[in-house]
Symmetry: C2
Subunit: 298 residues, 2 copies
Amino acid sequence: MNKDWIADEMRKMQLQIVKELELLDGHEKFTEDPYTREEGGGGITMTLANGKILEKGGVAFSKVFGPVSAVMKQQMNLTGNDFFATGVSIVLHPYNPFIPIIHMNVRYFEMDNGEFWFGGGIDLTPHYIVPKSAGVFHRRLKSICDEFDPSFYSKFKINADDYFFLPHRNETRGAGGIFYDHQNDLSILPKERWFDLAKKLALSFPSIYTEQVRLANNQEYTQENIDWRNIRRGRYVEFNLVHDRGTKFGLVSGGRTESILLSMPPQANWVYQHKPSVSSLEKDTLDGLKKGIDWTEM
Amino acid sequence: MNKDWIADEMRKMQLQIVKELELLDGHEKFTEDPYTREEGGGGITMTLANGKILEKGGVAFSKVFGPVSAVMKQQMNLTGNDFFATGVSIVLHPYNPFIPIIHMNVRYFEMDNGEFWFGGGIDLTPHYIVPKSAGVFHRRLKSICDEFDPSFYSKFKINADDYFFLPHRNETRGAGGIFYDHQNDLSILPKERWFDLAKKLALSFPSIYTEQVRLANNQEYTQENIDWRNIRRGRYVEFNLVHDRGTKFGLVSGGRTESILLSMPPQANWVYQHKPSVSSLEKDTLDGLKKGIDWTEM
């Protein structure tokens, strides 16, 4: 299982995911945009805009390698000279405020000194939290994790709660999910199984999201719901530009800006001191943006 | 000229600016939102939304003091134990894409060990660069600077070019302006004159912006112009959340989020790989987003 094979597999995952998301959307196709990176490697960014369900979606594959830059050394605490990284990243922004935003990422990193690790995760950002739907989502993630190790779901769920958090808002980004990084302990799983976990997450992604879309069941929405969706999208922007390590690292290390900012919503709004009324779906959502909620019980 | 007097003066500047901006807008009034800061001091944030000319505007006054936190020590390289800071910050987002976004900030900082400094600046972010209008703007700034020191304008203009720059886009934020920080050299100006410079900038602000509004002369605009405005506003968001030192510092140091993010536009859009056509006003604007342009010659 060498690194180029892993990258080829990642590319296949991207294509499979795109195929299934096109079926889900039923209207628009993804456009393929390949690029090369001066220092080595490149990527294929696939995007969709103005679909039937998805207003903006990106499924990005990358395979990059070359000398470790000063910024990488400092920020990632690396010891080797050359690195190799490959992965698939997804962010989908639907029109319907009752369908959640979703994010997935799986990645593999290897150094020329033989060190390697896997990382990944899926998390859900409902504009309106529906506990039952968040429950369905978390139970799917738990059942995937449980195939690999019974301790994974609860550990990775806590990671997601901690990572997808906006301290300046004292809010989680959404209903959480799972998140893991720097996993290479072969006493827990052999390397092949760490890869299988990433692959399983990636290939489960379309059906996990399709389920969320179906649960929203074409629920009708008003301009008020759209306004709220746009404010929540603003929070998504805040998280990604202020806190997200991948985004920050990508932007300062000279990554490909358009691929890094694929996660940006098509539109986001900011309203000074916006406060939902006391008994409202919006207020319920704010109350649900907390760490430590056991969504599998919902 | 003690620190409390300076803070009182800052508050007066805020009120004067607000009064004149209300006359400019001619429709909406600013709403006053005072707050206190747990560790000492507070502020008065004044905002306007859905005016006739201004879609969203904020004029924030703050006077904060107290113990220097660990984050401040680290990020600001401070030696004393207690600090005092006061200032006025403005960002205005107009409806009309042919009227520029504008930003102004003047601030005074003092440590318990007697150290002090002034900072400030005004910069213009046209959605569409109109060289003649950028020229009017820069000549106004130059003439203010020249009253204090003939070297100021060119030094502070370079500072603004360097500071208001998005490396990940290889674009300046707009047509620049002036920016200065940490000014306390009494061999250049006595303290009173450093204060006078801040005051002069603040009190000139309404007429500087009124001039820019008049130059746009109610120019009619299309949906295409609005779409472009929203993309440019997206870049404004990127600058403020990824690069702006004040915003980053405010958010990580536990400042008041709603006041810090007053600068966010009412709406911002992101379109993957948006490229204006070869001969277009949009393309001309991108070509003008460069450091080192002598706008005073336009």
